[in-house]
Symmetry: C2
Subunit: 251 residues, 2 copies
DNA sequence: CGTATCATTGAGTTTTGTCAATGACGGTGG
DNA sequence: CCACCGTCATTGACAAAACTCAATGATACG
């Protein structure tokens, strides 16, 4: 995630003049399910869409949430690789797969945009993997909050959570209860404030950031940590750094 | 992973006649590091390469391992998004980024191949996320073994592990000890046999598969499991199914 | 044959999941 | 308008899973 939070680049301008219909969904309606034949790719105009997959045992793994301007359904395949469900009333422009394919033949620029978008999608998934693979509950929740905060259009440090506790759990590989406990812990520690259960104010961003990505306290879950060859500090913070790609406060 | 294990499609033939130099690395040598400017993309000719990222706290998350015929370094970006290190002596054909970019302008087919390869990469990461996000240690190790077994060129049910316990841990979000204990448990249960610590024979594939993806016993970690909208059983097994894309036994 | 590395195993601690009860909130219908 | 109800969130007590630390075994290499 988190970390990166690079918004999927919007479709290139080249695509806009082409036939693209605007569709609407109510909250909880699906744009498509995993396995459906790919009919179109979507650019969200308003609302929010959750991307997820369901395991055979019924467990749901949320891969992320997409907001206005972001792309949904861009895997280049015959069938969708994930499911997409609106989590609030949503509208999106749909570019049909047929149209896309036609344009792709004559427009190398579009192909590059698609490749970039796919790369961005890949990075997001990778970021989530980093968070889930090696951080404790509080670190995961911290990373999640940082991410939402960075992507929210709200005023600087207060934002409305787009996901319920349960959805956050499905995103972070935790149970509802564990998410809830992590939130209260952050609240008790004065790191965040909760006006309502879904309205977060970050009070100590540096601390939250440290929990999200640094070692120590509640953050890193002891693991192999094979640093032998690791040059992780050798590079300047790149786009994986949570502090980057942060939207400037809206005034 | 796992699950899918779809080999990244090799570069399309169109690319082969173009300038591509074969390079070699010893075990533990890096093809590139995360953050390096992208110089080339690679098709492995022989050997094995581990793809990973290192978190700020030093934890390493292995994203996967790539074998002969698979692509490495295909993110379409200015810098590599992951690190790649040979885990045995490896040779690969390198197509420079400049060459690729040149070809991309005139060959929509190549662009599609790249998009497919990126989609495949994305799916692999997603599969790993599914495994790590919701399965217990034994389920993760089972999934890992199934994956290796499916991809190994060895005779049917015996194969050599390409990763050490520690590397498996870094792949699965577990410690060395937990991986080791899971392996021992599988052995004691008669599900696998270990001729040597790195030579596995699958004795009860169905059981192993169940552990890897089904509910119950050591498999599913209790989590939200929001099945409400889930149509996970509605589709026939797709490429996410571990049993598919399995290489036929080599005779 | 020693040494280094990797794997295994055990004991104890920490984290997280499970189950159950309670609380908060919003919407509906009387 | 208010009581009721359903959903979501919180909290507590306990159990299970995974990590930590430490010791021992196995294996390969020089």
């Amino acid at each position: 995630m988190f970390a990166t939070s690079v918004a999927s680049p919007a479709l290139p301008e080249a695509l806009w003049p082409v036939p693209a219909s605007t569709l609407r969904w109510d909250s909880q309606e699906h744009l498509f399910h995993e396995g459906d034949p790919v009919s179109a790719i979507f650019t969200i105009e308003s609302g929010a869409v959750v991307i997820y997959r369901t395991a055979r045992d019924g467990c749901r793994q949320i891969h992320g949430i997409r907001f206005q301007g972001e792309l949904v359904g861009i895997g280049y395949n015959v069938t969708y690789g994930v499911s997409a469900v609106a989590v609030r009333p949503t509208s999106a422009r749909a570019v049909s797969r047929a149209t896309l394919d036609r344009l792709l033949d004559n427009d190398p620029t579009l192909a590059r945009q698609m490749m970039r978008a796919l790369t961005s999608e890949l990075r997001r998934t990778s970021n989530l993997l980093m968070v889930i693979g090696s951080r404790t509950a509080i670190g995961r929740v911290a990373a999640c909050l940082i991410d939402f905060s960075n992507r929210a259009a709200d005023s600087d440090d207060t934002f409305v959570l787009p996901l319920s506790r349960g959805e956050m759990g499905d995103l972070l590989g935790l149970t509802i209860e564990t998410v809830s406990r992590a939130m209260t812990r952050l609240k008790v520690l004065g790191i965040i404030a909760l006006r309502r259960t879904d309205t977060v104010t970050i009070r100590k961003r540096a601390t939250l950031l440290a929990l999200a990505e640094e070692d120590g306290d509640g953050a890193a879950r002891g693991r192999l940590c094979a640093c032998s060859e690791a040059r992780c500090t050798r590079y300047p913070p790149n786009e994986m750094t949570t502090t980057e790609n942060r939207r400037p406060p809206v005034h």
